[in-house]
Structures are given as structure tokens and as C-alpha cells.
């Protein structure tokens, strides 16, 4: 069996006294799209952020292609923190896309996409920009290369953010509610880019409220509720009958809004 792209083992996350993840075990398979779904406050974004080590788990371990991220198993079973350079090295296999895009406002689209190539990897400016242009073309924004984020629509900003992550050729892409701050019209253009990426065989983990997208594009769905992983499976297994009663209840809220055409 191949090593999972991401392995989550016994992950516990507390914010102060509040435990938001109660011991999660999850494998993200290579070359597939996995969706994390669940109600607000279920911990799905926190889980994704832990996978990127943007949140430090209170306990438990994360492995990226078999290598520990952030903390490694220690001698007495107590996780030991890895040095910053090691964390950066393992994390370089992951690209991340945020709900709020998080483009750097003082750089153009081209600047945002080429920044890490120039600053982190020492690639010559002309070559970095050439490579950045390839990514901007891929997300359909080559002609917006010279625009600043403030001159782009939300959907365009998110596509630049995807290009920024892709420029470093990550093996895994994490999406944290990538369309939640977009109106429905702009949501489509971002989902299309994500579909193309999935078709290319990219390993993706998507936290999303787009149940339709989850059902159509994901090979694996993980349903979280109240900090626990209630079930994982293919869309057929998850959405087919019989369903977990809590999932039924969750999906009903979508049906009420007429958003779940899938079921």
C-alpha cells in the first residue's frame, strides 16, 4: 500500500479549555480529492489548519507523505517539536488556499505568484516571473498579471491565490473554504479551476460548504461533527442510504435551501 499523502493520528486540539478536536485519525489518499464537510464549529477548518501546521495540535501527529510535520514521535511517546527549517521543508510539499485569499496587497498578481520563487528559492526575477505567468495562464488570469489585488474581483483574487500556491509545485493542495466569501457567480470560476486541478491528479483536501462540489468532485468525504470524525467514505457511501442520522440532519439544512440537488 502506498503512503497516504497526509496521515492524521490521534489529533487533539484545545483552544484554552475548549477542546475542538477530540482525537482525529484520518488518511488522505494520494492523487484524490478529499472533502471535509460538517456544520459550522465542527472543527473542519481547524483540522485543515493543523494539517498545514498553521495551528499546533495539542496532542497527536501529522505526517506528510510519511514525514512528521511540526512534531515528531518522541522517545516516551511525547511528541517533540522539530526545528523551524525542518517544518518549512516538510511544509513545502503543501500549498494552501484561504477563505480570505490573503494576497499581499502591495504586490501585483505576478508579484504575489513569483514572490516565494524569488525570495525563498533564489530563482532569477525573469525566470520566476516566467514561471509565475505559466500558473496565471493556468487559472485564466495571464492578462491580469500587472493588476494589484485591489483591482481584482474576489474570484480573480482567489484564482491568483491558487496560482501562488501552485507556483511552488506542491504535492498536496489544501483549500480552506475557498468559495465562502464569494458570491455564487464568482464561486463557479474558482470551482472550475479546482476541478481542472483535480483532473490533473493533484492531491487535494477541501473544506467546503459546497455539497454539490463535494459530491461531484471528491473521491473521499469526511464528515465532522462537534470535533469528531463521524464517518468517512466515498460520496456514494456518505450520501447514499442508510445515512448517519446526524448527517441526514446536516444535509436537510441544505435541502431546505434547495442547494443539494445531488440527493
Amino acid at each position: 500500500m502506498t503512503t497516504p499523502a497526509i496521515s492524521v493520528r490521534g489529533l487533539i486540539k484545545r483552544f484554552g479549555d475548549v477542546e475542538v478536536l477530540h482525537g482525529i485519525d484520518l488518511d488522505i489518499p494520494q492523487g484524490q480529492v478529499s472533502c471535509l464537510i460538517g456544520p459550522s464549529g465542527s472543527g473542519k477548518s481547524t483540522l485543515l489548519r493543523c494539517m498545514a501546521f498553521l495551528e499546533e495540535a495539542t496532542d497527536g501527529l501529522i505526517f506528510i507523505n510519511g514525514e512528521p510535520l511540526g512534531y515528531a514521535p518522541g522517545p516516551q511517546g511525547k511528541p517533540v517539536r522539530l526545528p523551524a527549517a525542518r517544518i518549512r521543508a516538510v511544509r513545502s510539499q503543501i500549498g494552501m488556499v484561504f477563505q480570505q485569499f490573503n494576497l499581499w496587497p502591495h504586490m501585483t498578481a505576478l508579484g504575489n505568484v513569483s514572490e516565494a520563487l524569488k525570495t525563498v528559492h533564489g530563482v532569477r526575477k525573469s525566470e520566476a516571473e516566467e514561471r509565475a505567468m505559466v500558473q496565471l495562464k493556468k487559472v485564466g488570469l495571464a492578462e491580469r498579471a500587472g493588476h494589484y489585488p485591489s483591482q481584482l474581483s474576489g474570484g480573480q483574487q482567489q484564482r491568483v491565490a491558487i496560482a501562488r500556491a501552485l507556483a511552488l509545485e506542491p504535492k498536496i493542495m489544501l483549500f480552506d473554504e475557498p468559495t465562502s466569501s464569494l458570491d455564487p457567480e464568482l464561486t463557479g470560476e474558482v470551482l472550475n479551476v479546482m476541478r481542472a486541478l483535480a483532473a490533473d491528479g493533484m492531491t487535494m483536501v477541501v473544506v467546503s460548504h459546497e455539497i454539490g462540489f463535494a459530491a461531484a468532485v471528491c473521491q473521499q468525504i469526511a464528515f465532522l461533527d462537534n470535533g469528531k470524525l463521524l464517518m468517512t467514505g466515498t460520496p456514494q457511501e456518505i450520501f447514499g442510504k442508510p445515512r448517519h442520522p446526524r448527517l441526514d440532519q446536516f444535509l436537510d439544512t441544505y435541502l431546505d435551501r434547495g442547494a443539494a440537488m445531488l440527493v
Binding site: A52, L54, A84, R88, R91, S92, I94, G95, M96, F98, Q100, N102, L103, W104, P105, H106, T108, E115, A116, T119, V120, H147, Y148, P149, S150, Q151, A161, R164, A165, L168
Partner: protein
């Protein structure tokens, strides 16, 4: 008022500009370091940063200048009075600039740094490429304000024997008995210099528009 008198005032105003410019520049360097120290997770650093600010912001500049002017020779350090003047002005403005910059640094959205983390920028690279430009933009209006304040406050360095614009006007008024003309002329010169600083600031701000209209 004769042309000769006005020329003396203009010369003194160059001195004012020089002292202020040097102090503001040194203050910006020290202020950046102090704001970085105040924001540091290291307790000792952040306490020393905040202590620096509360001292140099809390003691009147006039007292600071007199203290430095008298303290340095007492410690066996003999420096020209202009050095004492610049030291006093620099340290005082550093405290204010540090606070302006601290506000700027704290307003940099956390998400922009998470994005930088994810593409592998080290903390120093994040400071240089992301935090500093954004903080500077946010702090720029208050930094221009501070530059104007220091230019005016530089009149206080006359207490350590520097003949800058205000002191020159006083001296000339005393010897010519024409205080109204001389102080009007001095006021006008301050106004012109500060207008130039404000204009320079707004030109500089325009280079930080980043695509906004």
C-alpha cells in the same frame, strides 16, 4: 527688515532642517528596532522596548536635552553641543515613531503572514517583504506628522547653545529691536519647510497606492 537679516534667518533655517532631518532618520532606525523589540515574544526585549518608549515619551524634550547636555560631560564624554542636541531629538522622536510603527505592524492582517508561512518565507523574509512595507504604509501619515512635530520641536535645542532658526530670530530681534518682523519671518520659514515636508509625504504616500484609485 533688511535682506541681510533675512539671509541670516534662511541660513539658520538650513541648520534647523539639517538637525531635524538627521534626528528623524536616526529616530526611524532606532524606532523600528524599538517597535520590533516591544512586539517581540521575548519578555526582556519587549519590556526594554516599552520602557524606552515610556521614558522618552514621558519626559519633556527640554528636560531630556538639558539632561543629555549635562550628563555626557559628567560621564567624561565631551561632545560638541550639536551632538547632544541630535542625540536628544533622535531618542525622543524614536519613541514616538516606535509607537506609530507598532500600530502599523499590529495592523498587518494575520492571514497575510500565514500565506507567507505556507510558501516558506522565513520570519526575517516576512518582516522585510510583507510586514515592513505594509506597516510603513499604515504608519506613514503619522510618521509625516511626527517629522513636522520634530522640525518645530528642534527650536528647543537652542537651550544647549545651538543657534537654529528660532534662536537666530531671537538674537537678531534683540540686536535690531524689530521682534515682530523677525518672528513673522521665522514663522513663515517654519511654515514653508513644513509645507514642503507635508508635500513630500503625500508624494511618497502616492507610491504606496497599490492599485487603489
Amino acid at each position: 527688515m533688511s535682506w541681510k537679516l533675512f539671509e541670516l534667518l534662511v541660513q539658520a533655517s538650513f541648520y534647523t532642517v539639517q538637525i531635524s532631518f538627521i534626528s528623524i532618520t536616526i529616530g526611524l532606525v532606532i524606532g523600528t528596532a524599538v517597535s520590533a523589540a516591544s512586539l517581540s515574544p521575548n519578555r526582556a526585549l519587549s519590556i526594554s522596548g516599552r520602557t524606552f518608549v515610556s521614558f522618552f515619551r514621558g519626559v519633556p524634550l527640554l528636560v531630556q536635552l538639558l539632561l543629555i547636555y549635562n550628563l555626557l560631560p559628567a560621564l567624561g564624554i565631551n561632545v560638541p553641543s550639536v551632538v547632544a542636541a541630535i542625540t536628544g531629538l533622535s531618542l525622543c522622536t524614536a519613541a514616538y515613531q516606535a509607537e506609530n510603527l507598532r500600530g502599523g505592524f499590529q495592523s498587518v492582517p494575520r492571514g497575510l503572514l500565514e500565506a507567507a508561512d505556507m510558501v516558506g518565507l522565513s520570519s526575517f523574509q516576512q518582516f522585510r517583504r510583507i510586514k515592513a512595507p505594509i506597516a510603513l504604509r499604515l504608519a506613514l501619515p503619522s510618521l509625516v506628522n511626527e517629522a513636522i512635530m520634530i522640525l518645530k520641536a528642534s527650536s528647543l535645542v537652542s537651550v544647549v547653545g545651538i543657534v537654529e532658526l528660532t534662536r537666530m530670530a531671537q538674537d537678531l530681534a534683540a540686536s535690531t529691536y524689530r521682534p515682530i518682523e523677525l518672528f513673522s519671518a521665522a514663522g513663515l520659514l517654519y511654515l514653508i519647510i513644513n509645507w514642503l515636508i507635508a508635500w513630500g509625504g503625500s508624494v511618497f504616500e502616492r507610491s504606496f497606492r497599490w492599485g487603489r484609485p
